[in-house]
Amino acid sequence: MSRILIIEDDPLLSKMYKTKFTSEGFEVETAEDGEIGLKIAMEGKPDFVILDIMMPKLSGIEFLKRLRQNQVGADVPVIVLSNLSEKKEMEEARRLGVKEYLIKSSLTPKDIVEKVKEYLSPMGYSGGAIS
């Protein structure tokens, strides 16, 4: 069973993504800001991180910088899921090695689950669920 960490400060969205990922057979942990997210990520290395950008305490970009500095987090796969479509953030996130930078409002939870599955599948490509 893949363990996924969702870092999202909006409780409505966090709950929704958690519901969807859980129903798809993932083990889900959530964090309401970058700081808590970083702590969870360091303690038990997740298989995948879904990351918001605009968050209190520690922004998504700052989270990524610290995650990458640490050996534990250097290679954790991350998908950014944000409503912030500023090119500056997008480029910075790419530089910090995120798999994708997705715009929340244009995707459904199903779209996001499918993206994650693509990256987690041993073929490195889309296919059935792995859990």
Binding site: D10, M16, Y17, K20, K104, S105, T108, P109, K110
Partner: protein, 450 residues
């Protein structure tokens, strides 16, 4: 033959000539000083600078001993000096009084003061006693000393008036009694006072305008910030609505009846429209405030046109439209733009055409009337746009009568397209007549080399 002029007549003519010459001289003096004052007015935007330069000009050109300008401060109803000639005797006197010009103030009620009297009566006032000028100096000995230092015998004060308002007063002092001031000098001073009023009013207007402008800028920034914030705040709940609706539609909550699926799909459409609207609003404020970051590069416009064209092929087919792309191979089509943004513009034009055309054709055409310009047109056989509507159509939040019942747009698409095309150095427009379809076009400069 010559005309004989006798002695008496000769003298009379000589006197007349002298008088005319004097008049001319005085007129010239008046013009010179007024011209200087106008020049200062045109180049000065600060009250202190204007007052100082005016009083310096008046005193030096008319050879007075000293001069000053005072204005009343509305916050405490006291007069303060905003200009004073900086002659050595003046500076010495100032030092005697404590050295600080900004400390000097005269109450509005101090009617003994010649400047206040001129201000209140709106008339020229004069005094042969320095004490009536320096009413703020209590010690008579000090006034005596200043009299000695400066040599001032009399002072004339003029109100500075514009329209119905008194803006301040100015004073000039001289080493003779007031009655020795020539009628010409008095005339010049009267004219100077008028110009002073115009100039001071102009500066006050300018300063007010600046204040209002600052305030407006502030309000505008607040408005934009509010829109951005509101839009951002709207996106999270809209994303949640979209997400949950899609989960129900995907069957995550179990099987649902067909009617409910239909309703839910309508809800999804409505919500998607809201999301588009909010995204467009954010884009508009980003572009308007110059916060939009453009990834400028050389782009192949034919490729963009082809891929956007293909994107809308399905919707055009669904509506059974004749859907065509006309694109001569020989076109010089390299343009310097942000690829994603120009894609957005083309998509906006094609999607509008497909959306608002019920029967007939939608045709996308690329053409070139000169090697320097490439033109893209989206021609439809829809119901056309009236000349009045054509004028407004590229504005913000414009929705046309002819699009009634098809309110799926955000009213911002063409506005954003216009901002973007102009940003890329191009032009955008529409050719249309009612009942005969429309052609939306834009032109961009061709980039000749990579």
């Amino acid at each position: 033959m010559s005309t004989f002029v006798d002695d008496k007549e000769f003298k009379r003519l000589a006197v007349e000539l002298y008088k005319k010459n004097l008049d001319l001289f005085n007129a010239n003096r008046t013009l010179t000083i007024l011209q200087k004052l106008y020049q200062i007015m045109a180049a000065t935007f600060k009250m202190e600078d204007l007052s100082q330069q005016y009083i310096d000009t008046i005193v030096s050109d008319m050879q007075f001993l000293s001069g000053a300008v005072v204005v009343k401060y509305p916050e405490d109803n006291f007069f303060r000096v905003v200009g004073l000639t900086k002659s050595r005797p003046n500076l010495e006197s100032l030092a005697l009084l404590g050295g600080n010009l900004s400390d000097i103030k005269v109450s509005y009620d101090d009617e003994k003061n010649v400047a206040v009297a001129a201000y209140k009566s709106r008339k020229r006032m004069y005094t042969d006693r320095l004490g009536d000028v320096l009413t703020f100096v209590e010690d008579a000995n000090e006034i005596g000393k200043i009299e000695k230092i400066t040599g001032i015998k009399s002072t004339v004060a003029y109100p500075i008036i514009f329209g119905a308002r008194v803006l301040g007063s100015f004073l000039v002092s001289m080493g003779v009694e007031e009655k020795q001031l020539s009628p010409t000098d008095n005339q010049i001073l009267g004219k100077v006072a008028t110009v002073f009023g115009v100039a001071m009013d102009r500066i006050m207007l300018y300063q007010n305008l600046q204040r209002v402008n600052e305030k407006l800028k502030e309000l505008d920034a607040q408005k934009n910030e509010f829109i951005s914030l509101a839009a951002h705040e709207l996106r999270a709940p809209m994303t949640a609505i979209k997400g949950y609706l899609s989960m129900i539609l995907d069957g995550d909550a179990g099987k649902i009846p067909g009617t409910a699926i239909g309703f839910l799909k309508e809800a999804v459409d409505g919500n998607d429209r809201l999301i588009r609207l909010v995204n467009n609003m954010l884009n508009v404020s980003r572009i308007e405030e110059g916060r939009m970051v453009y990834q400028m590069g050389v782009v192949n416009l034919k490729q963009v046109a082809r891929s956007v064209f293909n994107e809308f092929a399905v919707s055009a087919k669904d509506k059974r439209l004749q859907y065509e792309l006309e694109m001569p191979e020989s076109l010089l089509d390299l343009v310097y733009v942000d690829q994603d943004r120009i894609y957005e513009v083309v998509a906006n034009l094609i999607s509008n055409a497909v959306k608002y055309t019920d029967v007939g054709t939608v045709k996308v055409r690329l053409s070139q009337s000169s090697p320097h310009i490439i033109r893209l047109e989206v021609i439809d056989s829809g119901r056309g746009i009236s000349p009045e509507e054509q004028k407004r159509i590229f504005g913000k939040f414009v929705r046309l009568e002819s699009s009634a019942g098809k309110t799926v747009g955000t009213g911002l698409g063409l506005y954003i397209s216009k901002l973007l095309v102009e940003k890329f150095g191009g032009r955008i427009g529409v050719v249309s007549s009612l009942g005969k379809g429309s052609s939306f076009w834009f032109e961009l400069p061709v980039k000749r080399s990579l």
